[in-house]
Symmetry: C2
Subunit: 99 residues, 2 copies
DNA sequence: ATTATAGGACACCATTTGGTGTCGTGTCAA
DNA sequence: TTGACACGACACCAAATGGTGTCCTATAAT
């Protein structure tokens, strides 16, 4: 999961699919400078992380975003979110004491 | 940033530092099976992502967590969070229409 | 029927990644 | 002052990563 979203190409794929509902591989490939094979590999990694669902329609393979698994990242983050906001609060306390 | 948190060893380092406020390299190293050099490299990557702050105290280098940069990940996620919750709502609508 | 398009499956490659061991140096302890 | 400890800085290595090009098949278009 964390590895899946670590690559900028894959994050761009996620973004493209979020804005388009469903897209075939060749249209996704048009948005990049790299070749079809490379984009396909990235989509495979996203599919293995369940971030993307694919179906075959005629001769094309269409991809759709499945953002739900990102919940795992959100859960991980939420632990630290409290942490860093608390720290900011402590800092603000220090600053106000300086007055 | 995304690369920094992609590695499980680095996430464990973050977790350890969150629970301990400040820890020297050798104590962090004790929590892993790998050697000091490897842990030090991971900490360097975390420092370059500003997720960690280090200071030298005597002969040891102590590390402290700086969780704030994780905000970037949270911001990235928030865009998709709305997205997947909306989808769940749509799915629930479909299910209720089936009744 | 023939040609063009879409894409899976490989084989292949350079670079990056995540680890090791070793050496040198500064610092604390006996 | 003599070890022992903590760590940075290398040099080094195997495996993973992110790309390429080519071949093949299935489908669509002419």
């Amino acid at each position: 999961m964390f590895v899946a979203i670590a690559d900028p190409t894959r994050r761009k794929l996620i973004r493209l699919l979020a804005n388009a509902d469903e897209l075939p591989l060749h249209e996704l490939t048009d948005q990049f400078q790299m070749g079809r094979t490379a984009v396909s590999k990235h989509l495979t990694i996203l599919r293995e992380a369940s971030l993307v669902i694919d179906r075959k329609v005629g001769r094309e393979t269409r991809y759709r975003l499945n953002a739900a698994p990102l919940q795992e990242v959100k859960d991980w983050l939420s632990f630290y979110e409290e942490f860093w906001k608390e720290r900011v609060a402590l800092l603000q306390n220090l600053l106000s004491e300086d007055k």
